[in-house]
């Protein structure tokens, strides 16, 4: 401890500075924490660097014609990007068609209708669903959703199909959408609801015409984050959509198919990872870059909406 003499004649600036050893320890600890915080920047930089390097090799070496052909067969030098992109869009669209209504409905119920006791039971159940690993949902999509739901709706559907994968992704994304949307609605001030009730509005009217419009930025953010998560989801599609060798361009959701993520898993899977002719290895990083840029853009976009909610209330 700094035991400077408290004799007022001798009290100088130096005696107020405290124990130098203690200050040195303080500075060292601060530097250590700064270092840990900077680690996250290092990670980001490495991601960008790694992706950029191999993508550059791919882009500069690839025959542009092979980027727009009849399908994605990386081991044969056919890198049709649109096959994967359309696959991702289809799966994401199906996933959001499931997750948006389920997530929004659950969020409105939890935030506006559920009593605290009911909420305390239901909310953890949603969180348990959020904690289920995606491989597990992939297995469920292949072994239950595909035969029990998809093949009942369409008897000609293959066992491996994009529809089942999309529904599986939707179930996976639902808790995320519900939790972000619920946060947005709960941050709407109580006074707005009271004012609506005071005007004689019913609970439905208050929820639909007052709370939802007031929370709309947050709901948009919930959907965008859901889309971003759905595009980046790998295992459900890798297991339930089949097509591990490659796939032809197709818009049929009842047949096998591939997304950007599943194509990466398929390419890297198998023994000793990525072998193959020419640029097969680099195509992995090329798809990875596309995925990275796409999800980054969506996340930045969603972030803007979340911040708007925070500023308003």
């Amino acid at each position: 401890m700094a035991v400077g003499t408290l004799d007022s004649d001798r009290l100088t600036l130096a005696s107020l500075k405290g124990n130098p050893g203690r200050m040195r320890r303080e500075r060292a600890i601060k530097a250590l924490f700064l270092l840990t915080a900077v680690m996250s920047i290092v990670v980001s930089a490495l991601i960008v660097l790694v992706l950029a390097r191999e993508t550059w090799v791919f882009v500069s070496g690839v025959d542009p014609a092979s980027l727009w052909t009849e399908g994605w067969f990386p081991r044969r030098g056919l890198y049709d990007v649109k096959t994967l992109f359309v696959g991702s869009v289809l799966v994401t669209a199906i996933g959001m068609a499931v997750a948006a209504p389920l997530g929004l409905g659950a969020a409105v119920f939890l935030s506006e209708y559920a009593r605290p006791r009911v909420r305390r039971i239901l909310k953890p159940m949603l969180e348990i669903l959020a904690g289920i690993p995606s491989v597990v949902l992939g297995f469920f999509a292949l072994n239950w959703i595909s035969p029990q739901i998809v093949q009942r709706l369409n008897e000609e559907a293959a066992l491996f199909n994009l529809m089942a994968a999309g529904i599986g992704v939707g179930i996976l994304v639902t808790p995320l959408v519900a939790s972000v949307a619920e946060d947005a609605m709960r941050s709407v001030p109580r006074a707005l609801r009271e004012a609506s009730y005071g005007m004689g509005a019913r609970k439905v009217t208050t929820s639909v015409r007052v709370v939802i419009p007031a929370a709309v930025s947050g709901l948009v953010a919930a959907f965008i984050l859901g889309i971003s998560r759905a595009i980046g989801e790998t295992m459900v599609v890798a297991i339930a959509a089949g097509a591990s060798g490659g796939s032809l361009f197709s818009l049929d959701v009842f047949d096998r198919g591939q997304t950007m993520t599943a194509a990466m898993a398929a390419l890297a899977g198998g023994t000793d990872a990525v072998k193959g002719a020419g640029l097969t290895f680099q195509s992995l990083f090329f798809v990875g870059s596309l995925l990275f840029v796409l999800t980054l853009a969506l996340n930045l976009f969603a972030d803007r909406f979340v911040r708007r909610v925070r500023q308003r209330y």
């Binding site: 915080a37 980001s44 597990v136 980046g232």
Partner: protein, 313 residues
Amino acid sequence: MVARSATSSPELVRRRLQAGRFDVAGLVFRVLLLAALGITLVLLVTLLADVLSGGWAVLAGRLGDFLTGRLGITPTRVGIGQGLRGTFFIGVFVVLIAFPLGVGAAIYLEEYAPRSRFTRFIDVNIRNLAGVPSVVYGLLGFAIFVKGLQFLTGPDANGATVVSAGLTLAVLVLPIVIITSAEALRAVPENLREAGFGVGATRWEVVRHHVLPYATPGILTGTVLSLARALGEAAPLILVGAVSGFLTEGDSYRLTELRERFTAMPMIIYTWAGRPQAGFRSATAAAIVVLLVVVLLANTVAILLRNKYEKRR
């Protein structure tokens, strides 16, 4: 008397105000919301029931063998011993690397960082990292740990070792650990810090003796959730090169054998889910039950911890 209490009952008042009309829209809306939540929960229950009934034969018939056995191609003889070992070590890496780095970064951002553009940059960067798809982390792990640092992570196994996988998953959950820990630190009342400074404590002394003890339950909740997330991730494992077919080594818990080829639970589930033989369906379901027990146990502990902590406030 009876008549008087009836006129003042809220039920009667409401009926009078609605002029005898029944609130159809309100009922429909409520039913829709309940349906959204109901479908979600029914899917969760179906999933759990499906894997439990699918894996029951294996779990009840040969649990001991199954938990200690090795990978293979005969569904009636395969086991997940090597997978449990891989998953255990991945957990160890996450706890030893991601937790200290993540909590350290959170302490820096919440307690030390000045309000500068640099701080804001780190903050935005961390939130974006949390949204990067897990396959992309797989690419990072492949390029940096499997290839770049092969001499450290295991030259004899071409870098495809549990060390690489553990490091990759530690990096993957790092942003989640930072975000949840920062939230827990933010919830610590400011006057606690001011009281500490008031008696002459340094910043580190305040953090160490007052802020951290108060925030520990919150930090623990976040870290346990991210551990569960890491144990269930499969996509990065595929890219890092977890073994899916035969594996002669990989069931020893000795540290000297960390730099050999490996597999982990999510990888086993992914591989087995893709095998056509009927026997593998029940083996996969049984493996899923084991993984879910581990992951959901961690999640439940985290949720209970948080609920207890919230109530105390």
